[in-house]
Amino acid sequence: MKHMLNHKLLKIRNLKKYYPVTAGLFSRHVGDIKAVDGVTFDISEKEIIGLVGESGCGKSTLGKTIPRLEEPTSGEILYKGTDVAKLDKKGLRELRREIQIIFQDPDASLDPRMTVGDSICEPLIIHNIGDEKKRMERVVELMEQVGLEATQANLYPHEFSGGQKQRIGIARALAMNPKLIIADEPVSALDVSIQAQILNLMMDIQERLGLAYLFIAHDLSVIKHMAHRIAVMYLGKIVELADKRETFDNPLHPYTEALLSAAPSFKSKDKDRILLRGDVPSPLNPPAGCHFHPRCHRVLPICNQQEPELAEISEGHFAACHLYKSL
């Protein structure tokens, strides 16, 4: 599977998304919340990248910036070679056929006053695909693809359970035959028994349709299950990016180490846990140098002065940490 991943679908270069913070009567610009602060990575065709980090690290903002639901502040988003940031309205509409998002809260992402059939059909109408009969056929096909029955198309969202609603969200995302799906915490609002159903469904669809996923989650066990490669984010930056196995067997960045050891697991009960001190600092005023240094258990004198760059430490394994600078 992995050797097939050569065709780059999406290249992100030094992407930044700042939210200006204003104060006072004249809305004086007093600073920026650096939600995404210089992120660079690629997604190949049919690849699943897991993006993991704690709340406020910018992972959702990054997900929304790729199809330009949020306007990037600077940087490049190259989808099949074209820069998304420079697309006009028409080009953007074309792009959004190929990049779709599945949101975390299936309740909030479905219109309560539309039948789910209409919700799934809506993207087909917007993009002017087929006539009414063709569209209905497509809706039925999509619903069956995600394990729902065609007869349920006339029901309203409140008549479905959380897991079924998430299936509807997936069906809608698939309507346009996308190449890349950005899944923003698609299972974190679901019960464990339902979570497994949705994860399996997403795996099946990915294999069957040959999709690429940017799979955003805070839960490492879910990420480990889904992803081929894992990007770890902390305060707007990617601190480590590597193959799944590498990330779990040989984590380089101390933050990744701590995340891994913090994840509760019922198989390895008595491990030594790296407890991080304190909370994630505010992205409005991040610590100088490496943003992670106040919580780091392997901090060096240089860490509070100079910001480490994301560098390739071993083949395909990137980390932004001063510990590996001499290598």
Partner: protein, 322 residues
């Protein structure tokens, strides 16, 4: 019996709604032993939170009502005692930590005022003594510069800090029993690890009996001594945690364990439990789990399974073992 600090027998709490009677808790039995951490485990709607709220009768009535069963604590039946008696117990003998720290704290009172209020209500201490007690509690919870935090309002604290404040508040009157309702659910992994660490320390230092409510089996493995698995308002399996994980008897319990993606697992595909959790207004007949059960038999549709004691510490409600 002396070893048991709280005993819940055949507890039934129903909610009368316009659409019918919601049997949120419908026959739950367990005992909480002194100094142990008992986990109530289940998915949303299984009745675990309502069970906890029933112990202190902390739900609106109407629509909620305890329609049957006993909650024995210290010679008293909490299901039937007067509200006046219950008020003496709430917060003092039995304290509760809620899931959402944000909504459990009063946004217009300082942290100090909220904790001191509770101490003065239950203990014969004056303001400055209560204040000192609060400061030492907050520092015990690992809150840096606890003195300063007293004058903070809830919005000035992060989620993890608020959760610590709540735990400190619940411990402020030296309770016998602590009920923790999903205290780690709304927080990030690294903060979750910190909170679990606090519970570990509390167990060692205070000999507290804890009822820990969670849907996360990995957390159960980490913190629990015994666990009660709940489904459809009933307890379906009760056993020591290591038994639950290594030797689950009920098909629902084994399903829950198998469908969990785990950092130490490498399987390509997750096992899953088909279907969805039942509607509490129209519970399936017989065993509530039978429509989703891979091992369902004819009898499961007709008859509610009896409780079967498979070993001294292990009981399960399933027809497979009759």
């Amino acid at each position: 019996m002396d070893n048991v600090s709280l005993k819940v027998s055949n507890l039934r709490t129903h909610f009368l709604t316009r659409r019918g009677i919601v049997k949120a808790v419908d026959g739950v039995d367990f005992e909480l032993r002194r100094g142990e951490c008992l986990c109530l485990v289940g998915e949303s709607g299984c009745g675990k939170t309502v069970t906890a709220l029933s112990i202190l009768r902390l739900f609106d009535s109407p629509p909620g009502k305890i329609v049957g069963g006993q909650i024995s604590y210290d010679g008293l039946d909490l299901a039937k005692c007067s509200l006046r008696q219950l008020r003496q117990i709430r917060g003092k003998d039995i304290a509760i930590v809620f899931q959402e720290a944000q909504s459990a704290l009063n946004p217009v009172l300082t942290i100090g005022d909220q904790i001191i209020e509770q101490i003065k209500l239950h203990l014969p201490l004056d303001y400055s003594m209560a204040r000192d007690r609060t400061i030492s509690l907050l520092s015990e919870m690992g809150i840096p510069s606890a003195k300063r935090v007293l004058s903070y309002y809830p919005h000035q604290l992060s989620g993890g800090m608020k959760q610590r404040v709540l735990i400190a508040m619940s411990l402020s009157c030296d309770p016998q029993i602590l009920i923790a309702d999903e205290p780690t659910t709304a927080v990030d992994v690294t903060i979750k690890a910190q909170i679990l660490d606090i519970f570990h320390e509390l167990k060692a230092s205070r000999q507290l009996s804890t009822i820990f409510i969670t849907h996360d089996l990995a957390v159960v493995a980490e913190i629990g001594d015994r666990a009660v698995i709940m489904y459809g308002g009933k307890d379906v399996e009760t056993a020591p945690v290591s038994e639950i994980i290594n030797n689950p008897k009920h098909p629902y319990t084994s399903g829950l364990i198998e469908c969990l993606p785990d950092v130490s697992k490498t399987a390509d595909r997750l096992a899953s439990i088909p279907g969805t959790t039942p509607n509490p207004i129209e519970m399936p007949k017989g065993c509530a789990f039978h429509p989703r059960c891979p091992k369902a038999m004819k009898i499961c549709k007709q008859q509610e399974p009896p409780e079967i004691i498979t070993s001294k510490e292990h009981k399960v409600s399933c027809h497979l073992y009759t």
